[in-house]
């Protein structure tokens, strides 16, 4: 295990490399989910990363600029920056593992990052857990969490603003405080106007795991994802573990992913 900073001097990123840098059978860059979900899932994804490392896969967990231990403040975080950071992470891991297959893993918003990054940087495989397919409604959800928190902590009558007020602030070029995170107008712009789910997986193999309640979201995926030959969609029975701070491990997600990776990387049924 190697913990270190990497990336450009003005955009220092924090990363943890789990597993053998030499002799690894593959590499996997973990794209973290967003905001509090990065925190609620941190220990559990770290655990899974260490398990993958034990199975011979070198895993790089990194923190996008403005988040976690990386440089910058959260106000510096936006989608374009996170995509650039993911590409930087891929280059770093590629340097570590050489010509071995290299893939991207992402949970929730991290799934969006992984799928988007694959458009820009070559990835051999994609592994996505309950990815956020549409950023605009996701942002709305995040804005509503502030309203919910205010309604819980204050009397509902004292909550004098709405999600529309926050949107108006963004449109006017102001940042908005969502439960201690400073959302910049650039982040708002990227989430609502600039980025959408890619038309195709852009990797030779892709596995998208989701919960049954996410079927409507998955049904809206472009055709290449649902009927194409490279992507496989599978339902997992796990709870939405990113919603709470418990340490209950997402065993269904992990088991399905591990067997798919073994099949993809080892048995050659899906030659990478």
């Amino acid at each position: 295990m190697k913990v270190q900073y990497f990336g450009d001097r003005g955009r220092r990123l924090f990363g943890i490399l789990d597993g053998p840098s030499h002799g690894a059978r593959a590499g996997l860059v973990f794209c973290p989910p967003f905001g509090e979900e990065m925190l609620t899932t941190y220990a559990r994804l770290a655990r899974w990363s260490k398990q993958l490392a034990d199975s011979g896969i070198a895993v790089l967990r990194f923190h996008p600029f403005g988040t976690g231990e990386s440089g910058g403040s959260f106000a510096d975080f936006h989608v374009e920056g996170a995509l650039q950071d993911t590409a930087t992470a891929i280059r770093y891991l590629r340097h570590q593992i050489g010509a071995k297959p290299l893939g991207l893993f992402g949970l929730r918003f991290g799934g969006f990052l992984a799928a988007q990054t694959a458009i820009r940087v070559s990835a051999d495989f994609l592994l996505l857990w309950s990815p956020v397919v549409k950023l605009r409604p996701y942002l709305r959800e995040l804005l509503r969490t502030r309203l919910t928190a205010e309604a819980v902590h204050l009397r509902a009558a004292q909550v004098t603003f709405s999600t529309q007020n926050m949107v108006d602030d963004f449109e006017a070029g102001h940042s908005v405080d969502i439960l201690g995170y400073e959302f910049s107008p650039a982040l708002y712009h990227h989430m609502t106007k600039e980025f959408s789910w890619p038309e195709a997986p852009n990797a030779r193999n892709a596995l998208l795991l989701h919960r049954s309640s996410e079927r409507p979201s998955v049904a809206s995926l472009p055709q290449e994802w649902t009927t194409g030959e490279t992507a496989e969609l599978k339902v997992v029975a796990d709870l939405p573990f990113w919603e709470n701070y418990s340490s209950v491990f997402p065993q269904g997600f992990a088991d399905s992913s591990q067997s798919w990776l073994d099949q993809t990387l080892t048995h050659g049924n899906r030659e990478v």
Binding site: V3, L179, Y245, S246
Partner: protein
Amino acid sequence: MTELVNIPVDSWMLHGIVHCPGLSSGKRVGVVVYHENYNTKFGTHRLFRVLSDRLASAGFYVLRYDDRGMCDSPGIHDLTIADRLADARAAAKFFREVYKLDVVIGWGLCLGATLALHTSASPDPHEQLDALVLCSILADPGIVSLPQFGYERVEVSKLAHEFFLRGNLLRKLLNAPRSFKFWIQKLEVIARRHLQGTPKELGRMKATIGRVGGLLAAYDGPCLMIFGEKDSYLTDFTERVNPGDRLKLKEKPNPPEWVLIEDGDHTFSSREKTEQLFQATLNWLERLPSREQSAVANIASNFQAEQPSAAAD
């Protein structure tokens, strides 16, 4: 400037990050930040990371770390409360010795505050903390839960109150099929608790939390307690742990100071509340009494001079 460190404890290694101060000072004062349950060292809304940057820019050394086998520390481990306590003591000792600190202060949130208080009571002087900042302290064993054992906190009395006393009972019975899943889930949890009994680890954790009142009463060093006004842990503390100053904290020669952050929640989750939390911490460090005063006062006043526009309230 930050340095990545490895802290040895038992047969484990803890990954830590030390924030080194930009300002030079006569004495070397460190702050160990203790995070809450099943969390990592940067914390909710990056609270601990930003706090550490601020403290370092004010002249303090700051250490944050991950527990054994968790997050960025090597290995995989099912963490117990005893492990946490051992890790907390090891972190304080490592920090004092390796960074040659004159004063080590513990700053903790929720369970982290509980750990800081326990660490201050260590029999080893190298592990002890010279002062404490306890935020949203977890002091009531009655609210401890262990979700990793499926031990969700479900209070039968509250459920009964919810069902029988709130709203129209007849309407609830008519609507029961719609809320069937919710009630079944709660009943499952209750049944599981009664069938399995209390997990031993939960008992140990409750015992550890249960000692907080006694430790607070016995602690004679400088202490600042911070709560958010809207945090349920505040009422847990004032009504169940220390009702009517049962612990006689006010009668102590060196009573804990209190800061109540208006409209603040458990984790001070807005930039305004976070800023108030930081200011409360720094203002107190500036006034830190007794033997720590000379070491900390110079540093804190440097900070105040650097942050003229930061508003406390």
